[in-house]
Symmetry: C2
Subunit: 309 residues, 2 copies
């Protein structure tokens, strides 16, 4: 039996090293350098390609190397006897809250404008809003979304969430379903997309959706690029309805150099860094999952096609 | 009897309007358009010039239009029968914490670097630190400094303060006096200057002081420009000892266009906006102080030459 690591476009060595430490007797191979595909029962995967998983005839478990599992379900019809697990890491949720907070504060306090003023040697004090005057809406109230919502509310932001099911959490307004989307969007200064990628969320953020936002709202996308119709967002920015957007995720990553986002004056790009899976804090649940698979137990943090949102 | 408003370089009208509402029967004059100087007993002041106060022979009280009073004490030998009050406004302290937090987070998360990368169409994910890994030191533990310290500690930063007297506050390390300055400075990732301007703090932040900071520390000055020896800071930045500086306050404001800070690649300038006195939330204590002066009572938020730090 062996373990395979599929880690698209990135260096798998740190993962392999950490795994070897925790599972010293197991054979760990890096895809596509697999000696015998039939011996692999456990695959660690991040953004495998279509048909990659089909090559493993005795696959029993797929461990996503992040919080999301859409990169597995969207390309692979997972058989019933194959378990899929995602990483649940307090660090991922904390990363997300720290990142979202930094973007909101930077916008609120006009920091970018002062930077431009500095290059022109312009001394122009401007007024700004206070945390208690700002409404933030979180799209998606899963573990990460609710963590961000609670943390933002704790320091004084007016926070609401939109999700499939009603949430009951002190100090956070809960909206659910399409019938409550309009009222949710109409009051926001900042909309933060933390939705997972599912069929229901694909291209959810289109022109009609964006027009429901209050004029001059700001979009932060740390969910998935596939949720945004890029041309529609650009249209809303150009029409002056949306004030600006911070995008950390894209349909194709790295974002192709020809994409109009790069040069759009109202778009800020970060290279998918809002939250990064931390090897140290997640390696234990992975090695535990390997042992569970070996002994036929259900994995930790199981995911299925219907999970979340 | 009348009230005079001295408000250098700024528009005094919003203050006059707000005061008129709260003290509708009083005569309010804007300096230097004063009908009879001998009738003025109460002066609202922000950055008066040397000798301005001397013109009012019957002055009984000076109300600073901000949290600081150095702009009064540094130019005027205040007679014993003249009370000086400063504004204590929860908004000022909240502004300060929000501003300091936005700067620290923006630096921590490499947001400026991503902005530069975007102009070059570069997709370069970089690792960053988490809030719990960051040490922030606050110079000055008065009302505002301690508020900032407590708020930063509450969201997970490692916070220490340096002040004249020992502070006892859960979760905040307290250092005091010159003998504990070196150990305080040696551990910081971010040093935040929130000191008031006194004789003791003038040019406190010089080359020797800055060299005591850990290599690659970041300086945020939201205290007073007079505390920093500009050439020494520039030297430490150029030598690579200090990573960068965000300066909101300067020896002369607006910062003269010839000052090297404007074009220094490691200096970020904001135009003294870290905290701005809020008229709505401070007008009540000012009108109350006027009534106290009239009835011979001690003013709220009294200040004296030895105040704070």
């Amino acid at each position: 039996m062996s373990i395979a690591v599929i880690y698209d476009n990135k260096d798998p060595k740190p993962w392999v090293d950490a795994l070897s430490k925790h599972l010293p007797v197991e054979k760990i191979e890096i895809y596509p350098n697999i000696e015998e595909y039939s011996k692999v029962e456990f695959v660690l995967a991040w953004k495998a390609k279509k048909d990659d998983f089909l090559k493993f005839p005795n696959l029993k478990a797929i461990q996503s190397l992040g919080a999301s599992v859409d990169h597995i379900f969207s390309i692979f019809e997972v058989p019933e006897n194959v378990q899929v697990a995602r990483i649940v890491d307090f660090r991922l949720a904390d990363d997300m809250w720290e990142f979202v907070l930094s973007i909101i504060l930077k916008e609120m306090k006009n920091i970018s404008q002062f930077r431009v003023d500095q290059t022109n040697k312009l001394w122009r004090p401007t007024k700004y809003k206070h945390i208690t005057e700002i409404s933030v809406g979180i799209l998606g109230a899963g573990e990460i979304g609710m963590h961000v919502a609670k943390k933002l509310a704790a320091i004084g932001f007016n926070v609401s969430v939109w999700s499939r099911n009603r949430k009951f959490e002190d100090g956070i307004a809960s909206y659910c379903g399409s019938e409550e989307l309009e009222i949710f969007l109409s009051k926001l200064d900042y909309l933060v997309d933390i939705l997972p990628f599912t069929k229901a969320t694909y291209h959810l953020i289109d022109y009609n959706f964006l027009k429901k936002l209050k004029k001059n709202a700001f979009l932060i996308n740390v969910g998935r690029g596939e949720q945004v119709v890029d041309e529609d967002l650009i249209k809303c920015l150009d029409e002056g309805h949306i004030k600006g957007a911070l995008l950390d995720v894209f349909h194709i990553e790295p974002l192709p150099v020809s994409h109009p986002y790069w040069k759009h004056p109202k778009v800020q790009i970060t290279p998918h860094i809002a939250s990064i899976t931390n090897i140290e804090s997640s390696i234990l649940q992975i090695s535990e999952n390997f042992n569970r698979m070996k002994t036929g137990k259900p994995l930790l943090n199981l995911a299925n096609q219907k999970t979340s949102f």
